[in-house]
Point group: C2
Chain length 383, copies 2
């Protein structure tokens, strides 16, 4: 059900011809109201794609009537013409829906440095508008896929209101592998300030902690739109929790679909002096290519975990560090711990616990292994 | 000729039985004087191996009579017993050479988290001492190999004096892939302060700018020993230049032998506001897995270069960035430049120039591509 699980939304996903293989490549999500509150979070990359620059701008009003998303081209590093194309796309959506262009967010994903085929994209917007439906959420989710092997949706329904969403990508907000695009919708009656607060709180501990390959996209975009059509205004905490749950679910789906991955790795840092320390250490472990290769080879190589911890500024003493892999404390007090031959690495999920023995804060970062398939997928063609 | 190219040094490389396959695994380098000045640079990883902790300590005197190096085990994360083993190794070298243990540096490389087989290592020291020769430099260079496919040596001879050295590893000082161990010797009559200054100046622009896979070792060690036996005291600038030349040559040999690599990538950052900016940008580009895969696939994917630049704090405007790949300016002013199809990627060396258009400072970082062979080599067995 995706973005149309919540009342007050229609969506469509169609093939506009942007992708040369004829696959669906254009999605439209429309908020039919009565409320049109919205919030967004964008890539922290300083090289931002035209649609990110546009959407950051329009989001300042705290209101959105529609989101148009295309795969088949990132419209990044495309100069003034690229920005004009994004603007023209928003204008076209505005025209066919009878709203203002300043209420239309744009998101794009695909190869950097090529202009979008506007002669196909603009007629595609008309086609998508004609296809809008209260049941169009799944088709929209399919149309934003790039290297994704499956489309990703998630829905949480509470007492009278719903939060749902769709995502594409095999990576993360900051950093981001392939571009991550996420659109969340809710029929809860929530103002834009609360949407913004709930969205930032959720992405900080979900998408921000999914780190597939340490690469940050120019296009990452997460939007949350509220229609108010349930006429229910939930408690903030309950609403924020529902947003977090959907983000967490979509984030997990992204990491499980990471390019070429054969293992999903949960890096849990405990005993940290601060949450920042825990995140820094978790990210350092998650980005260590040597460790990611070892996990691929089902080798519980805890020395590479310690080596990664040692590159951080976090508070710890080397001779107090402990590391567990799949429940076996293979490293104790900075040295050899339990027998590494007892670690069972046969399953897809691998759980690494790094105990800094320096406090009580924790953080969990999700990543995946580094495989020959990843190399193949990212070297065999431009993406 | 390696470490015995300079007069006043003997060396040996033997098989002590530390490696199960019977390959050479123990090297000894001895300074026969008359001067015994020395300097060292070590990993910046906070998780330091026992031999690094030991050698940092003995180097404080500015004097070394010998260096003992073993492959087959890193002696890292091995607790108090590991440090005792390093100490016992130095004591054994001191005993057989008739010097003090505080004049003996120790370096180790291999798997983290296992104790060294001291019952093999200590007799190995005796065997190595018996094999010491003024022609032993090459054998020493062979004995410190781990995953290296070739041994690495370099020599610069000036008017009456020489700087020579050996290196192992397929990575870098900070960070470091597989451990990098380097021993340089000179018969120039130079005091330890000048050695230290010249060594730090050289490693900063050579080994520190070789970044194979962004992983930092627990054991990286670079030592420079001076025997004074040429009885020539060169001008500091000339001496520093010779040290830099040898370090540069060895650094190049390391990157060309990087695990699984098929391309050597020179990342040259120009137009930076500061040298720090240039290094930060160069390192970010050099560590971008997506770009490294693209180069492997001979794809001049400049979008991934811009994406990597965008994650840094360096001074730049996105719409002023220029990128050349193998001489073709594929990105101009942050957008599409010359035809990417004219980039010739057939050769092993790939030259990326990133122009930040923000100043006049430059830096060059060397890296290599990311290949299925790298994944295989680092997942198929513990290393």
């Amino acid at each position: 059900m995706s973005v149309t699980a919540a009342k007050g939304f229609t969506a469509a996903g169609i093939a506009a011809g942007i992708k040369e293989n004829g696959n669906p490549d254009l999605a439209l999500v429309v908020n039919t109201g009565p409320r049109r509150a919205a919030a967004g979070v964008f890539t922290s990359n300083r090289v931002k794609a035209a649609p990110v620059l546009w959407s950051e701008q329009v989001l300042k009003s705290g209101a959105l009537s529609a989101v148009v998303l295309n795969s088949g081209g990132a419209n990044a590093c495309t100069g003034p013409k690229g920005f004009q194309d994004t603007h023209a796309t928003a204008e076209k959506v505005a025209e066919v829906l009878g709203v203002g262009a300043g209420e239309v967010a744009v998101a794009s994903t695909g190869l950097i440095g090529i202009l979008l085929p506007m002669d196909k994209l603009l007629p595609g917007v008309e086609k998508a508008a004609e296809a809008l439906s209260e049941h169009g959420g799944e088709k929209a989710a399919i149309a934003i896929k790039t290297t994704d092997s499956v489309h990703k949706t998630s829905v949480v329904t509470k007492n009278g209101w719903t939060v749902g969403g769709m995502a594409k990508g095999a990576g993360m907000l900051a950093p981001g592998l392939a571009t991550m695009l996420v659109v969340l919708t809710t029929d809860a009656d929530v103002d834009s300030e609360s949407l913004d607060k709930a969205l930032r709180a959720a992405t900080r501990v979900t998408f921000d902690r999914v780190d597939s390959d340490g690469c940050m996209s120019t296009n990452d975009t997460v939007l949350l739109l509220a229609s108010g059509s349930s006429e229910v205004t939930p408690e903030y905490a309950e609403f924020a929790e529902a947003v977090r749950t959907v983000c967490d679910d979509l984030g997990q789906q992204l990491i499980r679909d990471a390019e070429g991955a054969s293992k999903d790795i949960k890096v849990e840092v405990v005993g940290a002096a601060s949450e920042d320390d825990a995140v820094e250490v978790g990210r350092s472990i998650a980005r260590n290519n040597l460790l990611k290769c070892a996990i691929h080879g089902e080798d519980p190589n805890w020395g590479r975990v310690l080596s990664a911890i040692g590159t951080t500024r976090a508070a710890f003493e080397p001779d107090r560090l402990n590391v567990a892999i799949n429940g076996v404390w293979v490293c104790k007090n900075g040295g050899v711990g339990e027998d590494r031959d007892t670690v069972d690495m046969r399953y897809r999920e691998v759980h690494i616990v790094a105990d800094l023995a320096a406090g009580t804060e924790t953080a969990t970062i999700w990543t995946n292994d580094l495989t020959a398939d990843y190399v193949h997928e990212n070297s065999a063609y431009s993406s």
